[in-house]
């Protein structure tokens, strides 16, 4: 929490003049589960970017590469893994139902605090 300011130090009328300063508020601590990029080849399709409710998919837009997750803010909802077309393909090919943390998945969801590998 930032230092609380006095009434003479803040803009009037409740205005917030620093657009997008919510990035300073870290919501990553909410997370019970964490997304991890698995071994399967990411096709950099950006579907996860498209559906993330928290704008937490890190991409190199110019080079069109998916880089990973903004874990300072990611709340661990798991939508990225649910919409991942590579995940869907891996699941279709698998003989049995795969767990969310199956290492064959492109994006897998593990419990927060669990080791990634």
């Amino acid at each position: 929490m930032a230092q609380l300011k006095g009434w003479k130090e803040i803009p009037i009328g409740g205005m917030i003049l620093e657009a997008g300063n919510a990035v300073e508020y870290l919501t990553g601590g909410w997370r019970a589960f964490r997304p991890v990029r698995g071994e399967a080849a990411c096709t950099h399709c950006f579907q996860c970017w498209l559906f993330c409710p928290d704008s937490c998919i890190l991409v190199d837009a110019e080079n069109e590469k998916m880089l990973g997750f903004n874990l300072e803010h990611c709340k661990g909802c798991g939508i990225c893994a649910a919409v991942c077309p590579v995940n869907a393909q891996v699941r279709r090919k698998a003989e049995q139902e795969l767990d969310r943390d199956d290492p064959r998945l492109c994006i897998r969801i593990i419990e927060e605090g669990q080791a990634e590998e």
Binding site: T27, E64, K75, A81
Partner: protein, 311 residues
């Protein structure tokens, strides 16, 4: 030139809603906002009705908005943005500020749109202000703890339409707000869902370029109210589309057009059984409600097909 509607191209633009907002994990509302704002290349100015999206994105002294944004009250996002738009038009006409091709948007939940804000919305679109009103419809007053709204589906358990020993959840069908807005004969009205993101984005573009008032009703899953896992948001949204509870269509200058026909129209039960808010409907004494709902979904779907000339 307009940005191509591909994720890779869209990702090259600046993200207008930052991380650090405090919507619940897996919320549908921010997915909708991100997709819609990504589809608009022009500058935007936004009014937001009181609701989840509003409170969670602007908890003082933080704002998740990188674009100009105003919240006034619960029922008046439409009249607020009409004032902003009128100010813009007036000052541009007088040469006080430059023309900047600003797109004006208002976001409200179903509570702020179907219910308490309906009058202000009706008035603002009738006056013909150039703006797009977006209802993110999660089917209840989720912000205050899941109370029923006129958008709540039949039979749904909410905290003011609880599934009790005698009354099995909400007793009425959902109000057809999209049709009500179409009856205003404004240039553009559409129903959409974030699971069909390209359709949502194309509709957004049509809406903000229609030259008048536009309305979009967008299905927004709330995993807290609907009772499903946080990662099922998109899948369950698409089930609503595929069972035709939430058909995708548009009404452009009075012409009704179906945007999507499911390959196989799923039974509404497939959508209901995935959500805890309908769990009680699967008890033998309540199952008749599923039939009632199916009949109503079918009736509305057939009616929509006729309107779209697709029957």
């Amino acid at each position: 030139m307009a940005t191509k509607l591909t994720p890779k191209e869209l990702a090259k633009n600046v993200e207008r809603l930052t991380p650090g907002h405090r919507l619940c994990a897996g919320c549908g509302a921010s997915i909708i906002v991100r997709q819609m704002l990504a589809a608009i290349d022009e500058p935007v100015v936004i009014a937001n009705a009181t609701g989840c999206l509003e409170v969670a994105t602007t908890i003082y002294p933080y704002t998740a908005w990188r674009v100009p944004w105003i919240h006034n009250a619960f029922e008046n996002a439409a009249s607020t943005i009409s004032g902003v738009e009128a100010a813009y038009r007036s000052m541009v006409r007088q040469g006080k500020i430059p023309e900047q091709n600003i797109k004006f948007l208002a976001f409200g939940g179903d509570g702020g749109t179907y219910d308490i804000g309906l009058q202000a919305l009706s008035g603002a679109v009738e006056r013909g202000h150039q703006f797009l009103y977006v209802c993110y419809d999660n089917g209840a007053y989720m912000n205050t703890g899941i109370q029923r709204s006129s958008a709540t589906p039949l039979g749904a358990h909410t905290t003011t339409s609880p599934a009790g020993k005698v009354v099995p959840g909400k007793q009425q069908h959902r109000k057809d707000l999209t049709a009500i807005m179409a009856a205003h004969n404004i240039p553009y009205v559409a129903q959409a869902a974030p699971s069909k993101w390209r359709d949502l984005m194309e509709k957004t573009r049509k809406a903000v370029n229609c030259g008048g008032a536009a309305f979009m009703n967008v299905l927004s899953s709330c995993n807290r109210g609907w009772r499903h896992n946080t990662d099922e948001t998109i899948e369950i949204t698409q089930l609503a589309v595929d069972c035709c509870y939430w058909p995708l269509f548009e009404v452009e200058n009075g012409e009704w057009r179906l945007s999507y026909t499911p390959k196989e129209k799923r039974p509404v039960e497939d959508w209901l059984k995935r959500q805890g808010r309908f769990r009680h409907l699967f008890r033998p004494e309540n199952r008749y409600l599923i039939d009632v709902m199916q009949k109503e979904v079918d009736r509305r779907w057939e009616h929509l097909l006729r309107l779209c000339g697709a029957a």
